[in-house]
Symmetry: C2
């Protein structure tokens, strides 16, 4: 189990809190969990990825891999593409999925990426 998909559960998609029911970020987490994690991926909730203007936000990370943060995701629309993108990420050794193999949402809605952790000196 090498790759983690973090889902911000406090994201509100730039809107006021819903009058009832969970926030969009919590709905996105539930929808991803219901669809099921791809092989080698675990799904984890996180409270705030510090990108609140851009929600719903997710992050991908894994040992030896570049980490990515994606923004502007929609729990009612993007679950299949997120899971396809995470599965492709999990199949790489370094997190670098060829551009054309990334879902369009990952090509267009990347917020930032961070290099793989180096071994301590």
């Amino acid at each position: 189990m090498s790759v983690t998909l973090y889902v911000c559960t406090t994201c509100r998609m730039g809107r006021a809190d819903p009058a009832e029911g969970p926030r969009p970020g919590a709905r996105l987490l539930a929808a991803l969990q219901a669809a099921g994690a791809p092989d080698g991926v675990r799904i984890r909730p996180v409270e705030c990825l510090s990108a609140c203007d851009h929600g719903c936000n997710i992050a991908l990370a894994g040992p030896g891999r570049w980490s990515y943060v994606y923004r502007g995701l929609d729990p009612d629309r993007d679950v299949p593409d997120i899971l396809a993108g995470v599965a492709a990420y999990a199949r790489t050794p370094d997190g670098l999925v060829p551009w054309r193999e990334r879902p369009v949402i990952f090509r267009k809605q990347s917020l930032a990426r961070i290099p793989p952790m180096e071994s301590p000196e």
Copy 2:
């Protein structure tokens, strides 16, 4: 040596390429290196943090720590504050610096953060 400060050397601060001389991101790297890394911090260049609309960008990372990406930094203005913020980050076990101890640029110009890497299952 546990904390890495990544500096995007390709950042252009949203401008056209300079007519001559290095890009703002490369100038930021050089200025940080000239000032000297705080204890426990290594400074590393990186080509693109995928946040090109927001440069100059940096990232902080370290084992067991939250990673942070900061945006909108100015090589002519922000070097002392960046180094103070990275030093504070390096003094924490988890990367979570108390809010009031963060430089203003880190409070206002956070682009995203990613949780610490979990141990493999």
